[in-house]
Amino acid sequence: MAESLYFEYPVDGENFASAGQASTRVKRNLRELGLDSETIRRVSIAMYEGEINMVIHARGGVAKIEVTDSQIIIILEDKGPGIANIEQAMQEGFSTAPDDVRSLGFGAGMGLPNMKRYTDYMNIDSVVGEGTTITMKVNY
């Protein structure tokens, strides 16, 4: 594809039952573009973890996706509480998820590590009290 494609989706911070909608739409778009299933899977998993984090930890936000001819760039922006200690948050098993979301199966503290594992590049930009922006890139 000659030119980059852009998608933008709001992530609803209130509705837990529909969490994952933005990721599901992106998956569908990438399929329509004819990307290989392994690339689609990596993007889907990384983006879902980020989207769920915005719902659980940051009251929602916005997801921006850019598809170029060689990579998919995912930018997740929220105006939540921010992450005070990013190194700690990145550790497997670290979680501040409340009990009610743990009972749904979240809160293993594996989301951010998964995002790192399934992408070729990941950066967390966070200011306590202002919000978090996570940028991920998947090469294909």
Partner: protein, 109 residues
Amino acid sequence: MTVKDILATGNFTAISLPDEGREINGVYIGDLLSWVMGRAQADNAWITIMSNINIVAVASLADVACIILAEGVTVDETIKTTAEAKDVNIISTSMPAYEAAMELAKMTV
């Protein structure tokens, strides 16, 4: 082995079956969703006792072949219709996760 083959054993019940011919290449057992996202492989059968709506998105995005609800766990109608719309197979069994996995292991040989 396909999802249809598993049903043919008679020990599993269909809940949502939009893609019954889907091939299964292995099994992942787990209830913590980020573990499933991180460790299950594409085309695995995912055995769990989690039954809230979020399992449908996880199964779809992690691209597993089907969800197998163990221990006789049931889901409500919303989950069934969402799974059908999102092309996610869900079957259930009264067996515990270990026994369900054994049943699938027998079929792969």
